[in-house]
């Protein structure tokens, strides 16, 4: 293409402005997190040391680098609480993603099979909650799960239990909240994959004598694999760092890493440990994030 050789100044601006913004407010902040994760807590404002002082020149820089320490990381790996929280977060994310796949798949499948003229309206219905606040959706469950909430009253009325069950502050509540909040994130990519599926392939399988379950297992499932991967990544990565759901619905024993980070930062004011927590969380999530990024970039390039 000709504009590859002498690119017009407008294209340059289109690249430079958002690029500069992202470097300033996305990349630079990460470098700050890295830096503070190797600093030490201090009773100061801001509460960490050393502070970089550009006026002090080379001597200042030397002092700065010699004052850095890996203490926060050491704390992270020696304190069982942190290790356990990472483990717990990954476990919650894995189990929730599996549940989401199990219940999201039939819904996405049904959606892809609805007669065309209804598809638009039904998709709007699935997308709508995806635009409403996360906080509201979690709070809606507090209404239902509380001690004298709807769920307990229904269970009592149906005589399934004879004592109100404490749902809030349990792992069940956290799973319900997460599955509910991330449901559209799973359904949408699955639907996108299933909707694109070539239906003649199903007919071919049927014509060749494959029973419906066989067609489903060896044609439908493999063809919807991209949706599987996209949906799982979209759910797994953010769930691992989830804060709102475990904070509002979980107990103190379901401390996920997002909550620990929040506590270290806001309550303990230990910024270096909070930063180290973020760095390690990011390192753990790096693989899935890279897979997601690759997929997304390839997907858009193919369009």
């Amino acid at each position: 293409m000709k504009d590859a050789q002498h690119r017009h100044w407008t294209t340059r601006i289109a690249i430079l402005v958002p690029y500069a913004w992202l470097v300033a407010f996305f990349l630079l902040p990460f470098l700050m997190v890295l830096k503070i994760s190797v600093s030490l807590t201090a009773v100061a404002q801001p509460p960490y040391l050393p502070q970089f002082d550009p006026v002090a020149g080379w001597e200042g820089a030397k002092d700065f680098f010699s004052a850095l320490s890996l203490d926060s990381y050491l704390t992270l790996f020696t304190d069982a609480l942190y290790v356990w929280s990472y483990w717990k977060s990954l476990q919650v994310a894995a189990v929730s993603t599996a549940i989401l796949l199990l219940i999201g798949y039939p819904v996405a499948y049904g959606l892809a099979r609805v007669p065309r003229r209804w598809q638009g309206a039904l998709m709007l219905l699935v997308v709508l909650p995806f635009w409403t606040s996360f906080l509201i959706r979690v709070y809606a469950w507090v209404n239902i799960l509380q001690h004298d909430g709807l769920l307990n009253r229904a269970l009592l009325a149906l005589r399934i239990v004879d004592q109100p069950v404490s749902w809030l502050a349990t792992d069940y509540a956290v799973y319900i909240g997460i599955v509910y909040s991330y449901f559209p994130f799973m359904v949408l990519p699955l639907y996108a994959a299933l909707e694109k599926m070539d239906h003649t392939l199903l007919e071919a399988a049927a014509d060749l004598g494959a029973p419906p379950w066989r067609t489903f297992l060896s044609v439908t499932i493999p063809l919807s694999l991209p949706g599987f991967v996209a949906g799982s990544l979209l759910c797994f990565i953010p769930i691992t760092g989830e804060f709102v759901v475990p904070d509002l619905l979980g107990s103190s024993s379901t401390s996920m890493i997002g909550q620990i980070l929040w506590l270290e930062f806001f309550s303990n004011r230990d910024w270096p440990v909070a930063s180290a927590l973020a760095v390690v969380l990011l390192a753990i999530l790096m693989t899935p994030i890279l897979i997601y990024r690759q997929r997304e970039a390839r997907h858009l390039e193919r369009l």
Partner: protein
Amino acid sequence: MRRFGIINLTALVLGLAFLYLPIAILVINSFNDSRLVTVWSGASLRWYRELANDAAMLDAASISFRIALLSATAATVLGTLAAVALTRGRRFRGRLMFSGMVYAPLVMPEVITGLSLLLLFVAIDVDRGFWTITIAHTTLTLCVVTVVVQSRLATFDHSLEEAALDLGCPPLRTFFTVTLPLIWPAVASGWMLAFALSFDDLVIASFVAGPGATTLPMRVYSEVRLGVRPEINAVCTIMMAVVAAGLIITALITRRSPRREAAALGARV
């Protein structure tokens, strides 16, 4: 032939019930006259009236609204530029890093984004409040706009743009007279989505807000931590109504269901 059997129907009905029942209960409860949210004692607008007298809540709502308006607009401009850069400027130095920075915030856990931006703001010693939240939300939502607009740019007919350029139309004018009219439904959806995201955000705003600004979700969160309150049901109902109205209006204006964007994005809110 598409077969649409009873199993598919059941799955859909159950799925939608799962999505809407909790929200419906919340909305119904907001019209409940009783202070005890579990006992129905007649319909009333009592909690909406109390809300109208809650100055702190109204103040938070106005801050959230202004931040959402500003950050969505800034994000739409920046995000559209980024989308154009990624589709048009096929090869440029640092493209890999650029696309990385565009897609990563979509899945990045909010606690990390919030923490990192706060550390930056503290390091450069700016007053935290309205503007820092606006900047944080712009950064978060510009990525969403980019993905939405990029999916539209990738599918439209480039020969129209090339024709304009060949006829001697300068690139900037081509963009405004040819490209923008063709992609504006995506730009509008991107703006709406950015607005909704900013209006709803709790975690990032909590990190970067100073003592000076409290957004509506921050205010709601501090109330929710204390338990279920009927006023909060009313606030949530209004917030949902605003977003739903905006969504339906966008869909009507652009004559285009948001499902394409949402499916392309499949991304986080």
